[in-house]
Symmetry: C2
Subunit: 390 residues, 2 copies
């Protein structure tokens, strides 16, 4: 049965629609929502992160910058952080490739921007639905074309169809997001390698592994793709550190690519693009204790994501797509509009979910939800159950 909105919820729906029109291809922030509708978001399922990793970071932060260590904090605020090549050295260990192949970015978006604007020449092919900056950051004169992932295939990348589109479109730049966003679809390491073999003639193949830490509980360092950078000189692996490590506020990501590309980038800028706080985090990645605890936080997030899927799958009136990231794409089956669903969750439960109407290549009634801590996930499951049983 379609949801019936109350008069109040109708008003909120109108306000949110107006707000969304102003927000472009990203969701309005909880603070903007509150300013416009007066509703406080209690549980933010829009935001993709690992909350256990944030807790861990703050534990180390307090140890290192607690009230007793004013001097450390003073230095972090006052001094210039290290330059890009020095910071790259601090990522060697977790990435598993030499620093000369690593470019440190002010968030993954800076790296996406740098790649498209410096290395895309004529045409970029991007599978959709996807993370929107890949569709937006192409420089003037470079065309962006889409490869439609099929709903019938669960939005999974179908290698044959993908290669056929590439053959037809003849792009010089190709993007693969793995696991994908908004659905968490996954391409196996072996398929990826086969694809790379067949894409050797393409100028630049970007594999975005921003959600790879959630993909496989058996692999502590799941970024196999990064190690292929010597075998495939056209490969660029992009990785946000926001999601898996729960530190979006620090702005950190990295790109793995050929030495030449890194030299090109650093010759034109990116001198001091990481803050002192970002550098502090990079130091933690070389702290054995931190990384041991991080592995626990990673496994916990995966376990709870899997439990969440099991719970969501029992609900009638929804289709939940299997995911290897920390999010789920949910299709509403009962004739409800996604907007009404979203507003109802917000007005009745303070739960904020991601509408997907702005996602190019995704038609129908979809919402995207993050996997949060188990306790919060349960609240969403209960709220959904209530709404669906009305």
């Amino acid at each position: 049965m379609p949801i019936k909105l109350t008069a109040f919820e109708h008003k909120i729906a109108k306000q949110l629609a107006a707000l969304k029109r102003k927000s472009g291809s990203h969701s309005p922030s909880p603070a903007m929502l509150r300013d416009v509708s007066g509703i406080t978001v209690k549980h933010d399922f829009c935001f993709l992160s690992n909350p256990y990793a944030t807790d861990l970071f703050l534990k180390y932060w307090k140890r290192d910058f607690g009230n007793k260590n004013t001097r450390n904090l003073h230095k972090l605020v006052e001094q210039y952080p290290s330059q890009n090549r020095v910071l790259a050295g601090k990522l060697e260990k977790i990435v598993g490739v030499p620093a000369q192949h690593i470019f440190v970015g002010n968030g993954a978006t800076e790296i996406i921007q740098a790649m498209l604007q410096n290395f895309a020449k004529r045409k970029i092919l991007v599978p959709v639905p996807t993370f929107s900056p890949y569709l937006e950051f192409a420089p003037k004169g470079v065309k962006t074309v889409i490869h439609q992932l099929r709903k019938e295939a669960g939005f999974k990348l179908e290698a044959k169809r993908f290669l056929k589109d590439i053959q037809r479109e003849k792009p010089d730049s190709v993007v693969i997001i793995n696991p994908s966003n908004p659905d968490g679809g996954y391409v196996s390491a072996s398929t990826l390698r086969q694809l790379l073999e067949k894409l050797r003639h393409i100028g630049i193949v970007i594999i975005d592994e921003s959600f790879i830490h959630f993909a496989d509980k058996n692999k502590r360092t799941p970024q196999d793709a990064a190690r292929l950078v010597n075998t495939f000189p056209n490969l660029v692996v992009i990785k946000s550190l926001s999601k898996d490590f729960g530190i979006a506020g620090l702005r950190l990501g990295y790109g793995v690519m050929s030495k030449q590309r890194i030299s090109t980038l650093l010759a034109r800028g990116y001198l001091w693009n990481i803050s002192g706080f970002g550098e502090y985090f990079l130091n933690l990645l070389n702290n054995r204790g931190f990384m041991k605890e991080y592995e626990k936080a990673r496994l916990l997030a995966i376990r709870e994501r899997d439990d969440f899927f099991t719970q969501l799958s029992t609900l009638k009136g929804l289709k939940v797509y299997p995911s290897r990231a920390n999010m789920f794409l949910i299709e509403l089956l009962g004739g409800s509009r996604a907007e009404d669903f979203m507003v109802t969750l917000l007005a009745r439960y303070g739960i904020y979910v991601r509408l997907c109407k702005d996602k190019i290549g995704l038609n129908g009634e979809f919402i995207r939800i993050a996997s949060c801590k188990a306790k919060e996930n349960l609240k969403l499951v209960r709220a959904l159950k209530n709404i669906l049983s009305e």
Copy 2:
């Protein structure tokens, strides 16, 4: 009399020369110095900042994120900061122009990079000596030419000669740094306006005001140039917030320019280029108490800079160039090599000064020193006196 180095100092000199060759156009950091030579920098006169402003920032930081406010810190680390246009609104008050003219940058270097790479078309003219990124960040196909500031004129920008060079070179992009780096030379507001009138035909005129807060003790908001952005659509004002506010570790700067240029930039990226810590600082700029205390820190830095000049001017064997920034360019007159001077200060007093041999357009024996807190400035004056009287 030229300085005589001890055997130990000779060894240090050799190590530093090798290190400098690896550091490009920026000084090796104190940490790199220590790693290579074993010498700890006690007083860093390379680094340009306002130490009183750093103290002030930390005072507010402790209030807002002290041990009791873990929740605030948690949010800052975990959440995405606001996007560029929202952050620009937080600068309106101190810049005095509407947000739609303000681009917030991850340090001034990001803005320099963005300007040269997006808006310079054929040829950039840069007065030298100067801050090196202006000579380095031009994109492929864009030529960089220099306008030599004359030593006989105290490296002051001479408007007539400058305009003549522009007429001859026909650049589409022109840079003016005011006050200048490394010498602190100053162009008055009226001269600047006259120059802008005569440069209306130039595609983009960049005025870098990163040191303007140190220029005039009588003007609380000295950025007059920013307000000219409506009168001169080709004007771009770039401002680092690192130096005057003592927060280089946060990475913050801004550019004031036409609405069109800002739209062009934001259409291609710069979505979340400022960290949560940077956003916290931008909030402080709208805190009346903070700004009142900042004004005191600004005036104190200017007063001590002026005292420092008076003290330095009494020393024989040096020529100190007058400066409106928080630094002094010093010429060694007694036949000493700048390298020997620098090594002696480091080895005997733990004082680190900036060598200027890498500065294009600056030939001779020069060092650059920052104005630090009065107590530290006095230590440098005494050390110089000792060395010069040997």
